[in-house]
């Protein structure tokens, strides 16, 4: 692999790394933060494989296999922790855990009144229409086709 081709892979790896870092810093959902960290690992793995190919050795691929192993272990532990945190607060918001930051940091507050509105999917919810069969059951108070929110 000539050096120019190595530089191609290094640029792509650097881009993935930086995009992942941006996601980890800005997003507030625990799972999206974790996905961003995994994306940083992907950028590093790409860089390692390109360097290994450039030098003609297996070492880059061996290191990437180790990264893959550690990432799998990390995913198992992190998802278990996220589940425990979700059970405590019933939310994936990382801002709810501000009390464990270093002391003296100003708290970040939400202004829920001017949060960007959620995208509303147009049209009513549709369900498949089935042919009635058997004995008619007692009807519930709310029809099952009306939207519950």
């Amino acid at each position: 692999m000539p050096f120019d081709v190595l530089a191609n892979y290094l640029i792509v790896g650097a881009g993935l790394m930086v995009i992942g870092m941006l996601g980890f810093l800005t997003r507030r959902n625990l799972i999206v933060m974790f996905l961003s960290a995994e994306m940083m690992l992907q950028g590093v793995a790409l860089t390692l494989i390109a360097f290994g190919r450039y030098h003609g050795t297996w070492t880059g691929q061996i290191l990437t296999i180790m990264i893959l192993t550690v990432a799998a272990s990390e995913a198992a532990i992190a998802l278990a922790l996220i589940l425990v945190l979700f059970k405590r607060t019933t939310s994936l918001d990382v801002s709810l855990w501000q009390s464990i930051r270093e002391p003296g940091m100003p708290p970040v507050e939400d202004r829920p009144e001017d949060v960007e509105p959620a995208e509303i999917i147009p049209g009513p919810e549709t369900y498949p229409r089935l042919t009635p069969a058997g004995i008619e059951p007692p009807h519930p108070e709310i029809d099952y086709t009306t939207r519950r929110d």
Partner: protein, 280 residues
């Protein structure tokens, strides 16, 4: 060097366009509603920045290899942007699967066929499904407010793209590396000896022939010298060097996986709450 200056300027323009596009695409810090035109402008700037970034790549090999490289790289970067900026975490997970698939294509192009398959199986197969499972478990009522806000988007974008500019500048500055000695004419042992002059590595042939576990251990503790041989360029060569030169690393990786399994099972198992006065 006027061409270098042009490169640097183009890199700066690319980085600034990408940074502005990312800032426009990210949710606001207090979640102030962004109009549709802002998002379209962000997508446009990101596309422009990616096209400018593609001008830094030299087409590798023949036409087909270059086409696949450009497709996989642009898909990886674009999916990465969409992973970070999606408001819905389910969409984020699916775009991340797209990142993994594109990166596996790049692995395949650079000759790591086993890792391409392994990455698809481990990430896109197992980890993404687990993520989607947790997302479905945790989010029952659509998009939450914290998904539509982000923390300090301006400062984060600035620092991250400053880092990207530094990396890109460093990569572009090293345009013509000095070839110290033709690498192909030097055995790996000589190269390692040159890198570590105080610790002379004995040649493979000079090592007295040992049998049994002594040979295995001796090879495992020696510095790795595995080069890609033309006769075993694929999984066979990788497996040979993994289970002989890097035997200790494999054992440690197995121990880490086992510890992670035990740890995840211990953390995630629901435990009865500890109350004062309750049964110990």
């Amino acid at each position: 060097m006027p061409h270098l200056r042009l490169d640097t300027l183009l890199a700066a323009v690319t980085i600034v366009l990408g940074a502005i596009g990312m800032y426009l695409l990210l949710p606001g810090s207090h979640g102030a509603a962004k109009p549709r035109q802002t998002r379209q402008a962000g997508y446009g700037l990101i596309a422009l920045s990616l096209i400018l970034l593609a001008t830094f790549w030299t087409p590798p090999g023949d036409y087909l290899a270059a086409a696949f490289f450009y497709a996989f790289s642009l898909a990886a970067l674009l999916s990465g942007v969409l992973t970070v900026t999606s408001r819905d975490p389910v969409h984020s997970a699916l775009w991340f699967a797209s990142v993994v698939l594109s990166t596996s294509g790049l692995f395949l192009l650079s000759g790591a066929s086993f890792l391409a398959a392994g990455t698809i199986i481990v990430y896109a197969g197992a980890i993404i499904v687990t993520f989607l499972f947790v997302i479905m478990l945790a989010q029952s009522e659509g998009q939450a407010a914290y998904d539509r806000t982000s923390r300090a988007p301006g400062r984060s974008t600035f620092s991250c793209f400053l880092l990207l500019w530094g990396l890109l500048h460093a990569i572009l500055m090293v345009q013509s590396p000095v070839e110290p000695v033709p690498v192909t004419h030097m055995t790996a042992v000589e190269k390692a000896n040159r890198l570590v002059p105080t610790f002379a590595i004995t040649k493979h042939e000079a090592v007295p022939e040992q049998t049994g576990i002594d040979a295995v251990l001796d090879r495992a503790v020696r510095p790795a010298t595995g080069r890609i041989h033309p006769e075993t360029p694929h999984v066979a060569g990788l497996g040979a060097t993994l289970f002989s030169d890097h035997l200790i690393a494999v054992e440690i990786a197995g121990a880490i996986l086992f510890a992670a399994l035990v740890g995840a099972a211990a953390i995630a198992t629901p435990k009865p709450p500890i109350r004062p006065g309750g049964r110990a």
